[in-house]
């Protein structure tokens, strides 16, 4: 009964991927190969991978050190530092890029791109490593100590190997984020695949290069997702028991206390305080010419509209997939869920490109119209909504259905009285999260928006690109404020359910 809509949703998510390949090969495989094997493509590959390597290394350094300091040591204010360090997660990469670029225009290039990407993505390492450290049984370390290992050797031989799956999974997420990011690299004018695809699409009538480069990018990201899934599987085996019976004794920092505090403060300053201060500065120096309140209101309203529509469609498509994923554990259900997760692997720019090609060829009236933009949001963010729906439906385990049936309810009454009331808050939270990510989306919106329509993200991007930082600042502030409201509600919902 749910199968048909679920398959429709899965197909919907896979369609762009297929069409991109078709389009790349349209002029014959030889032509596509010429583009892929071109020296410029190899150059792009080196630049993309170079940036990714630096960002991943820096994120590992920041993430693991902060996780260990905040979980396992007697660091003063550990909880506050931990919360502060996760805040950058909510900030889009292009906002961070805007802040640094507007303060130091000389940063443009590799350095700036690496800095901005590291600052927004190190929490992807910090969070899983924190969880893994909390889950470690201190008895293991005590056993190692009793077997004659010093504290350093214990850390290296017992603790670190157990953090590897979590750190590895986080590192792969960072790599995925860096490869598919468009906002920060384009503002920092550092050419990676995403920026080259955008430029090539804008500059030339020959769309094959953009399609071929997109296919290369998609292949790279799929390889990363596959690698991430594999480490995740192993990480599951590494965990034993249900959490810890007792917390570990915090490590006393001794004379390292001040350096550790300085380190945390430096990260917080660079990742959170400085961008906010820069934003505040630009807001303060803005004058009536740059403070176009009418334009800001219009843009905010348009952003809310498309984001709400995007969240609505995405949630609707996610419902059948999420229910099936939660209630059935067969092969078919797994495949369906994985198909819906395709958007997770696809950089926004490639999905947008695929939809542009598709519309130009088969549905011209839709080209650069809002419905197509909404569809792009649905393809990109279906994974977010499916994961939320699945978790929500798991709140209503099948045994409750059984009990309700035994107490005289028919199946549809069970759905109304048990399943829906239990799952609804989680589904709503998923919709709110989807709404936030739609609002922050940049590359697909740039390509697919109707002529003359702006969202907060595209306006911020255009103004920053043109160097009008004071004009860009209100859009950055509005974006952060609007995104903070659902994030705050979401946080409240989470703390209530756990």
């Amino acid at each position: 009964m749910l199968l048909v809509p679920a398959c429709v949703a899965a197909l919907f998510a896979l369609l762009p991927l297929g069409y991109l390949a078709v389009r790349a090969l349209e002029r014959g495989p030889a032509y596509a190969w010429d583009i892929v094997s071109d020296e410029r493509t190899r150059d792009l590959l080196a630049r993309s991978l170079g940036l990714t390597a630096v960002v991943v290394t820096a994120s590992l350094l920041l993430g693991v050190s902060l996780a260990w300091l905040t979980v396992r040591t007697a660091l003063p204010g550990a909880r506050a530092w931990a919360i502060l360090a996760t805040l950058p997660l909510a900030v889009p990469s292009y906002v961070t890029a805007f802040a640094w670029l507007s303060a130091a225009p000389g940063l443009a290039g590799f350095g700036g791109a690496a800095l901005a990407m590291t600052l927004v993505s190190f929490p992807y390492v910090l969070l899983p490593v924190t969880a893994a450290l909390r889950g470690l049984d201190p008895a293991q370390e005590e056993a190692a100590r009793s077997l004659g290992h010093g504290s350093l050797r214990t850390f290296v031989r017992v603790t670190l190997p157990q953090l590897r799956p979590a750190a590895g999974g986080g590192a792969l997420l960072v790599a995925l984020y860096t490869l598919s990011d468009f906002g920060a690299v384009s503002l920092m004018r550092y050419d990676t695949f995403t920026r080259a695809i955008h430029t090539s699409y804008r500059a030339s009538f020959d769309r094959t290069p953009a399609a071929a480069l997109s296919v290369v990018l998609v292949v790279m990201t799929i390889a990363l997702v596959a690698a991430e899934a594999r480490t995740r599987g192993r990480a599951g085996h590494a965990r034993t028991g249900k959490g810890t019976a007792r917390p570990a004794v915090p490590v006393a920092l001794g004379r390292w206390r001040t350096p550790a505090l300085l380190w945390c403060a430096a990260v917080a300053a660079v990742a959170v305080v400085f961008p906010l201060a820069v934003l505040g500065y630009w807001l303060a120096v803005g004058n009536s010419a740059t403070w176009d309140l009418g334009g800001l209101a219009r843009t905010a309203w348009a952003t809310l509209g498309v984001a709400a529509a995007g969240a609505g469609l995405t949630t609707l498509l996610a419902l059948p997939v999420g229910v099936i994923a939660a209630r059935h554990r067969g092969r078919g259900a797994r495949l369906l869920e994985q198909a819906a997760y395709a958007g997770h692997a696809l950089p926004g720019i490639t999905v947008a490109l695929a939809l542009v090609f598709f519309a130009v060829r088969y549905a011209y009236p839709l080209y650069q119209q809002i419905p197509l933009l909404i569809c792009a949001y649905a393809v990109l963010f279906l994974p977010v909504a499916v994961a939320a729906t699945r978790a929500a439906v798991l709140q209503a385990p099948p045994v409750l259905d059984d009990v309700a049936r035994s107490l005289g309810r028919r199946p549809w009454q069970v759905l109304r009285e048990i399943t829906v009331p239990l799952a609804a808050p989680g589904v709503a939270a998923g919709a709110a999260l989807t709404f936030v990510v739609c609002m922050k989306e940049l590359p697909a919106t740039l390509l697919l928006r109707p002529t003359g329509m702006d969202t907060l993200a595209t306006r911020l991007w255009t103004e920053t690109g043109a160097g009008s930082f004071a004009a860009a600042a209100p859009y950055a502030a509005a974006l952060i404020l609007l995104a903070a409201v659902p994030s705050y509600l979401l946080g409240k919902h989470r703390s209530r359910t756990t």
């Binding site: 709140q395 385990p397 045994v399 059984d402 035994s406 005289g408 028919r410 048990i418 239990l422």
Partner: protein, 355 residues
């Protein structure tokens, strides 16, 4: 239900149930069971024996391949018949309670009370909460209750609509052992008070023996033996059942003429004529063996290899000449021997001979 209805209105009669999942081995192979009205029966078996499958078929969540389920003479599952669970009047108490997390305790209990007016619903809810010892807890939410309390609410919820039968699926599993005995006896008292027929599924032999009026031991999808707890323990149908419901001492024995068998522990009187059987396995319980002085008449001699002291009793392991496996002897009170010491052993009472 009114009081004038005859007793067997609540009798459960299960016959010839078979069930396989996919192409695999059958989970049930002709399971049959009768629970008299008002009785509390336990279905006891190791995990994977099919007991949960049977429970789900009786409740109506699964269809059997063949076989019938009758409740008070009414056919609820059978060839071409499958009454949906909501029309069976069978209450269930799942593992860990499975209370509806979004409803208060009172609304959980009242969930099955449909078609009655509000006053009656409130009265019945209060009555049941009192029965399970949770009067005044109606406004709490499930997560504010302890595991044992949740389990009691789950029972009250199942009993509220006056079901003909209550199914309890390992309901005490999630409770820690200190709590388990208390909740168990409260549940038994509540079931007695309402007179409902009940079927308890468990893999814990102590729980089955101490809680139920009737225990059905299930092995590989069939009932190996169904009897009162005492008969099951004292006259198990075969050595496997004997070992499953308690500790057993198994000895090879040869029948001699006058109703006794000769074993490594000396002659043992048989509970029943051997029916032409010449040799077989003699089945004894550790408490049927006694430690004696080494020179006691009729006792065999052995060496103590291990002593396990439990407080209320102790288990002494003795190696006896002429028998390879050491035998366990349960003794009450102080332990008169230590490992390595010589002792005498003699058998008290009768035992059965199994082929």
């Amino acid at each position: 239900m009114s009081d004038d209805m005859s007793d067997d209105m609540n009798e459960l009669h299960v016959e010839g149930l078979t069930k396989s999942y996919g192409a695999g081995e059958p989970v049930l192979r002709g399971l049959g069971l009768t629970v008299p009205a008002g009785a509390l029966a336990a279905v006891l078996g190791p995990s994977g024996c099919g007991k949960t499958t049977m429970l789900r078929i009786v409740a109506g969540f699964l269809r059997a391949d063949t076989g019938t389920v009758r409740l008070g003479g009414r056919l609820v599952s059978g060839p071409g018949v499958h009454l949906p669970p909501e029309r069976r009047r069978i209450g269930i108490v799942p593992q860990e309670g499975a209370l509806f997390p979004h409803l208060s305790v009172a609304r959980n209990v009242a969930f099955g009370l449909t078609g009655v007016d509000r006053g009656e619903r409130r009265r019945r809810t209060g009555e049941l909460l009192e029965l399970v010892g949770l009067a005044g807890y109606g406004d709490r939410m499930p997560h504010e209750l302890s595991g044992g309390q949740q389990q009691r609410v789950a029972l009250a919820r199942a009993l509220a609509p006056r079901p003909q039968l209550v199914l309890l699926d390992e309901p005490f599993n999630a409770l820690d052992s200190a709590l388990r005995a208390g909740v168990r006896s409260d549940v038994r008292a509540a079931l007695r008070a309402t007179g409902a027929t009940a079927l308890l599924v468990t893999h814990d032999q102590q729980e089955a023996l101490s809680t139920a009026d009737l225990v059905a031991v299930v092995r590989d999808g069939e009932v190996a033996q169904c009897d009162t707890p005492q008969n099951l323990y004292r006259r198990p149908a075969d050595p496997w059942v004997a070992g499953f419901v308690g500790e057993a001492v198994l000895l090879p024995g040869t029948v001699d003429g006058n109703g006794t068998a000769l074993t490594a522990l000396g002659p043992v009187s048989l509970t029943a004529p051997s029916n032409g059987l010449r040799t077989g396995t003699i089945l004894l319980r550790p408490e049927q063996l006694r430690l004696t002085a080494t020179d006691t008449d009729g006792a065999v001699r052995g060496t103590v290899t291990d002593v396990r002291y439990y407080g209320h009793d102790a288990m002494v392991t003795v190696t006896v000449e002429g028998h390879d496996t050491p035998v366990d002897i349960r003794i009450a009170g102080p332990v008169p021997v230590g490992p390595g010491e010589r002792t005498g052993v003699r058998v008290m009472g009768e035992a059965a001979l199994h082929p």
